[in-house]
């Protein structure tokens, strides 16, 4: 069965420091991988996705993520965190074959301290 794991409920980082939000997945097949962000009282917003090609994907607001097939990971990174990056981040996976489900992780709350 497909699954997504976000091992950290919360990540705390000081403003200006690099940040990493971890995500690992388990699928049988080639995955499409996504990161979404949710700000308070808002819907999820798309940040970036990996479909194929270059393992390093760049997205909105300076975020990037690296697809690592051997480690089945897709960690989200930012070189310099801003207080405004504080939000709830969701990793998601879907397959390139069969079905149309997207499977989400439980979310990681990022707290950036000034």
């Amino acid at each position: 069965a497909q699954s997504v794991a976000q091992p950290e409920d919360q990540v705390n980082v000081a403003e200006g420091n690099p940040l990493t939000v971890k995500c690992t997945y388990s699928v049988s097949g080639n995955p499409y991988l996504f990161w979404y962000v949710q700000y308070p009282n808002r819907g999820l917003q798309f940040l970036l996705k990996y479909i194929t090609g270059d393992n390093l994907v760049k997205g909105s607001y300076g975020f990037e993520a690296e697809f690592n097939k051997s480690q089945t990971s897709f960690h989200l990174q930012h070189p310099s965190a801003l207080v405004s990056d504080s939000a709830l981040y969701f990793c998601a996976v879907s397959l390139d074959t069969g079905g149309f489900k997207t499977i989400f992780g439980a979310g990681t709350r990022l707290f950036v301290k000034a």
Binding site: V4, R42, L44, F46, T102, I103, F104
Partner: protein, 115 residues
């Protein structure tokens, strides 16, 4: 361009009552999805419409849940009768093209509390 909208934003009902949630997708988006997040856990897929047809409803928890998308525009999700475990945030999302490689556009969610 207007985003995905959901109504109501909050609903508090008693066990046994009926609630209907509404989702208006982005105009022109054929694909409409319903998800639920319970108690800070993962966002779980409920079902997927392509226009007015149910493409995949394998995530619907039981027959107390009924989703419709008449005319292929807005969608409703009815819970009847509601149980305590139905509490959570119900998200709707839409996308313009079929294919799981396409990102989805989410509404702000409806927070349902069943007492």
């Amino acid at each position: 361009e207007a985003g995905v909208t959901q109504f109501p934003s909050h609903s508090v009902i008693e066990k046994g009552q009926t609630v209907t949630l509404r989702c208006d997708p982005i105009s022109g988006h054929d694909n409409l999805y319903w998800y639920r997040r319970v108690m800070g856990k993962e966002i779980k897929f409920l079902l997927h419409f392509v226009k007015e047809s149910k493409q995949d409803e394998s995530g619907m928890p039981n027959n107390r849940f009924l989703a419709e998308r008449t005319g292929g525009t807005y969608s409703t999700l009815k819970v009847q009768p509601a149980e305590l475990e139905d509490s959570g945030v119900y998200f709707c999302a839409s996308s313009p093209r079929l294919g799981t490689y396409n990102e989805q556009f989410f509404g702000p969610g409806t927070r349902l509390t069943v007492l």
